[in-house]
């Protein structure tokens, strides 16, 4: 698979200008007549980035601001209807893309999806086998807490701390995998990323659940 790299960002869908019919030079603004072209929908192509999992978010923000200044509908008030439409589409892709790419997890999910991995369906239903025992104990403690067992409270706080530590080590693991993928562009690594991401999602849900329970407990009974 080929991903053209454009240092300034702003990939387009077609090399021929929709306005003047000349070659647009593959730039967002036609090299010939300067009109805005239909933007590429792939976030990496759009931002002119190589398909890597580790990104410099400061650089990304700089690009985001720069492209916003050039593409935002505010800049197209007096332009043709078609250019206004492209500006709207381009800015939507810019904003959607920035939201996804600046977040390491969403970024990885995006790449997985683009590479044909199925990530949506089984989201967090299946318990990753290595967590089975942990989850079983937690559910017991939660049940006891609901039944009014004070001691369970300590267990749950402990569980939360364990999950938080787990999440941290998962993030480290992911980071390593990201770098490996960036170096090798190996699909096998993506397969591993997918597995670890699933585990992380599961742990995140556990943390949320535990924190909700602790917060509820903190509230005076109505």
């Amino acid at each position: 698979m080929e991903h053209p790299s454009q240092p300034d960002g702003g990939g387009v869908q077609s090399a021929r200008c929709r306005q003047c019919g000349e070659s647009s030079g593959g730039e967002l603004f036609c090299a010939h007549c300067g009109s805005l072209q239909r933007p590429a929908t792939d976030y990496y192509v759009f931002f002119g980035l190589k398909r890597v999992l580790v990104l410099d978010t400061e650089d990304l923000q700089r690009k985001f601001y720069e492209l916003s200044r050039r593409l935002h509908p505010d800049r197209f008030t007096w332009k043709s209807a078609i250019e206004r439409q492209y500006s709207l589409e381009a800015t939507a892709i810019l904003n959607d893309g920035y939201r996804v790419l600046r977040d390491p997890l969403m970024r990885a999910e995006y790449v997985l999806k683009q590479e044909g991995f199925d990530i949506g369906e089984q989201r967090s239903k299946d318990v990753p086998p290595e967590l089975l025992e942990e989850v079983f104990d937690l559910n017991m403690a939660l049940e006891e807490l609901r039944l009014g067992d004070e001691e369970a409270h300590g267990q749950i706080e402990e569980a939360r701390n364990r999950f938080l530590a787990m999440r941290e080590s998962i993030d480290k693991e992911l980071e390593t995998l990201y770098r490996r993928f960036d170096d090798t562009q190996d699909r096998g690594v993506l397969q591993q990323v997918r597995t670890v991401l699933n585990r992380r999602r599961y742990v995140r849900n556990l943390v949320n659940e535990v924190e909700k329970e602790l917060a509820r407990e903190g509230q005076p009974a109505q």
């Binding site: 916003s68 509908p73 008030t77 007096w78 904003n95 959607d96 920035y98």
Partner: protein
């Protein structure tokens, strides 16, 4: 502001775009000149145009200051605070309408219809009259036609409320180039004036709505990080509290329930608002109300008042906390809090904000004007006059679709920078199915019934195929106005898929077009009639005031000559009162005005003496 503005007026003139703050209580129109944004005054010199519209029996309509005078005499035909009804159905506003002196017509489920005499009008039509008044003021002031505008809306307005505002603009003959969020507009005026970089929160508590927004300012880019609010929280709610107390007192003292008498309600409302506003500056004041020879007085201390409104002030704080959490900045990182909206003059509000944000809030900008000034700056950005400045706003509410079991599947999350989009694939469930219905909602809750229904989209004419074989890609796009656009494509054929839109609230396109036509047809007649009527309303006001003044002690303190002058001016005004020439009526009003100057001064002195006596109780 000029030193930070980079204004390019260019060689070829572009059409002028004005900025409008369409408020619950007051509306303003502003434009950008060489030195920065300026508010355009009305014919009477006032910068604020009351958002009040009166529909007369003869079919004519007046808006603004002239209509305010009719709130009492024509209470059942004079509409105020209509912004609170925009984009709503009757079931949304049941509690509120019991305070309104006008009737709600039948068939108000998806759009409220106000029954004003023989005529039923919708909130966008009423707002259009306010906008038309501002448009006329701007045209008179600038000496050129004004057809393009930026209009502000509360940041927390949903899709239907935004659409209703846009409809109002179109009915008024304005091309609404952009809806901009009120706190964001305020930050534009503020940021250009005071600060180039940093994190700023804008707290906007006006007459009807509350908004909080947190922004990052970065070399001319105003990036909204998060926003939150309540579109049904403001000064009106405070007024209703005080009204409630007064109704109860009066029922007890007079043995009479006046809450169904429009005239009494409006007179009392004005007394209550005046007292509330004074309380922002003095520790104790009095509600004073007279009706049909009876009087009601009640002392209100700041302490009592604060007890009364504490929960209203508190209700602004949890949106603030949520907004801080969503913006992913800590309270310490917020450099400043800018206060916007008339209700932020209340000391308790300022204290609460200072405590929550751990900083002294900025109050030096005029909270009534800053939103309109910002709207004018945004107009300048659109026209190209303001370069280097760009506003990146967010959608306040998550957008989702209904899935199995009435559960919401979120497609675009709240606080996403707009324009934002999401694409979702749909297919059929049974063989040969030709239509698919998509129910779109806005809100943060998990269940459809707890969210706001936005619209139902029907994909029509799907090619008959076995179940699950069709593949239709639907694209949901929220534009820079915060309004949803939906398009669909048949993935197999690549062709555009036809969609029928059924908005849950609001007017249909045909209805809006009919209203535009009607308003254009009536515009010319209306204009003449309105001017005559406005002149007469003013004449009524001054004649009434003079009549009252003659009963005042001050009248006898005047010289014979002064008294004769007043009487003669009154008679001359009465003689032209029924003429169709508004200029003539106005000239006589002016004469009477002149003639009563001495009387007014004498009365003022007496009043001051009286007031001083009054405070010594």
């Amino acid at each position: 502001m000029s030193q930070v503005f980079d204004i390019d007026f260019g060689s070829h003139r572009k059409p002028r775009i004005v900025g409008i703050d369409l408020g619950t209580t007051n509306s303003l129109v502003a434009f950008l000149d060489l030195t920065g944004p300026k508010i355009i005054p009305g014919a009477d010199g006032d910068l604020l145009t009351p958002s009040i519209v009166s529909y007369a029996e003869d079919g004519s309509v007046i808006a603004g200051n002239a209509a305010r005078r009719l709130l009492i005499d024509q209470s059942e035909r004079t509409v105020y605070s209509v912004k609170r009804l925009m984009g709503k159905g009757i079931s949304d506003v049941k509690d509120e309408v019991k305070f309104f002196p006008f009737r709600i017509a039948d068939g108000s489920e998806s759009v409220i219809r106000l029954q004003l005499g023989g005529r039923a009008v919708t909130p966008p039509e009423v707002s259009a009259q306010v906008l038309a008044e501002l448009k006329r003021n701007a045209e008179a002031y600038l000496g050129e036609p004004v057809t393009q505008a930026v209009i502000t809306v509360p940041a927390y307005f949903n899709d239907a409320q935004r659409q209703a505002t846009k409809d109002a603009g179109r009915i008024a003959g304005l091309d609404v180039l952009r809806l901009v969020n009120e706190p964001t507009a305020a930050s534009l005026a503020y940021g250009l004036d005071k600060r180039r970089n940093g994190v700023v929160a804008v707290y906007d508590l006006g007459g009807g709505t509350f908004d909080i927004s947190i922004l990052r300012l970065h070399d001319g880019i105003f990036e909204v990080l998060a926003t939150n609010g309540d579109t049904h929280l403001g000064g009106d709610d405070i007024d209703n509290r005080l009204m409630h107390i007064a109704f109860e007192d009066i029922a007890a003292e007079w043995g009479e329930d006046i809450s169904h008498n429009g005239e009494a309600v409006q007179t009392l409302r004005q007394a209550v608002i005046a007292a509330k506003e004074r309380l922002s500056y003095v520790p104790v004041t009095r509600i004073e109300f007279a009706f049909r020879g009876k009087t009601y007085q009640r002392e209100i201390t700041q302490e009592l008042f604060e007890g009364l409104i504490k929960d209203i002030v508190d209700r602004t704080l949890s949106p603030c906390r949520q907004c801080i959490a969503d913006s992913r900045v800590s309270v310490e990182e917020i450099d400043e809090v800018v206060m916007v909206g008339g209700s932020t003059r209340i000391p308790m509000v300022r204290r609460a904000v200072a405590a929550l944000f751990k900083t002294k809030p900025h109050t030096e900008l005029n909270p009534d004007e800053v939103v309109a000034l910002g709207a004018a700056v945004q107009a300048g950005i659109l026209s190209g006059e303001v370069q280097d400045t760009l506003l990146l706003d967010v959608t306040p509410l998550s957008l989702g679709i209904e899935t199995m079991g009435g559960v919401v599947s979120k497609l675009i999350h709240r606080n996403s920078t707009i324009p934002a989009s999401a694409t979702e694939a749909f297919t059929t469930a049974v063989d040969g199915q030709r239509n698919v219905l998509i129910h779109v909602v806005q809100g943060e809750r998990e269940l459809v019934k707890d969210c706001r229904s936005l619209a139902r989209f029907e994909l029509n004419d799907i090619a008959p195929l076995p179940a699950g074989a069709a593949r239709i890609e639907v694209r949901f796009l929220i534009d820079a106005n915060g309004i949803l656009n939906v398009s669909a494509r048949d993935v197999r054929t690549g062709k555009e898929q036809s969609i029928e839109v059924k908005p849950s609230y609001g007017l249909s396109e045909e209805q809006v077009e009919a209203m535009i036509l009607e308003s254009v047809e009536n515009a010319e007649d209306d204009f003449r009639e309105r001017q005559v009527r406005e002149a007469r309303v003013e004449a009524d006001a001054i004649l009434g005031a003079t009549e009252k003044a003659r009963a005042n002690d001050a009248w006898v303190e005047l010289s014979d000559e002064q008294r004769a002058k007043v009487t003669a001016a009154v008679n001359r005004l009465l003689m032209v009162y029924h003429s169709e020439d508004h200029l003539l009526i106005r000239a006589k009003i002016e004469e009477l005005n002149e003639a009563t100057i001495a009387l007014a001064e004498t009365m003022m002195n007496t009043a001051v003496r009286g007031a001083l006596k009054g405070t010594k109780v």
